[in-house]
Symmetry: C2
Subunit: 148 residues, 2 copies
């Protein structure tokens, strides 16, 4: 294989190991500070962005996880009173899933702390490097969008 190919593989390994490391740290802190799992936090974050709610399939696509996975997590969040399923007028197969008031206020608290954790964990990166990598990943995401 070519040198470029090796370089891309090395980048991928580093990308993966970086995100796994940060993810593990965040998972641990969410558990000890807020008694919430990372998957549940991810779902809450997705729903927070959409006050009117999201369809199960939209959640699944946005979070890049399977439909069945979302079903289970939402079930547990509903049981905990953070999320509700709102029956819809038009389509009886679907329901809008959205945060309850408690879900919204709980998440707001977590989100503030979460942002400070990330700021802390990524603090070793100078602002210009943050911007550089962020920009590369953004253009890569657009590239993937087109080639799909």
């Amino acid at each position: 294989m070519s040198t470029e190919s090796k370089a891309r593989l090395r980048l991928w390994v580093r990308l993966l190991r970086t995100s796994r490391a940060v993810e593990n740290e965040i998972r641990e802190r969410l558990r000890t500070e807020f008694d919430v799992t990372l998957p549940r936090f991810d779902v809450l974050a997705a729903l927070f962005r959409q006050p009117d709610g999201m369809l199960m399939s939209e959640l699944s696509r946005f979070l890049m996880v399977s439909n069945g996975n979302v079903t289970g997590i939402i079930d547990r969040l509903v049981a905990d009173g953070l999320v509700e399923r709102a029956k819809r007028n038009g389509d009886r197969r679907t329901s809008m899933v959205r945060l309850t008031p408690k879900g919204r206020t709980d998440f707001e608290t977590m989100a503030r702390t979460h942002e400070s954790w990330i700021n802390d964990l990524l603090g070793g990166l100078p602002p210009d490097e943050v911007e550089a990598v962020s920009s590369v990943l953004h253009s890569f995401a657009e590239y993937r969008e087109i080639h799909s």
Copy 2:
């Protein structure tokens, strides 16, 4: 929160979404092409780098997953004949886990194809951007190493 904090959070979201997207694609291809799961591939890759084998705890630390998780995956790989546990002379609590000859040749095949998939998937990134991001992530890993 500060602008820099927001920028770091945005970087983190992009990092996470990028690795999840690539990971999902690789997972799918490993399953259809080689009938192997991603976690098993990761374990095989770790063991391939260490011909003499690794301790369970070394695997756990290297892969950044829990001890119990490694136990289960190794159990299944042993059942499939790709990995073996070699009893050790000194310490009766531990055993060296290593690839069987079949595990080694199977992995070599997968690894070649895997590298070409990554080269394909990250093909949208110009070599200089690959090097730039790779280098930032590398120095970040060293930074984390020190601050731990």
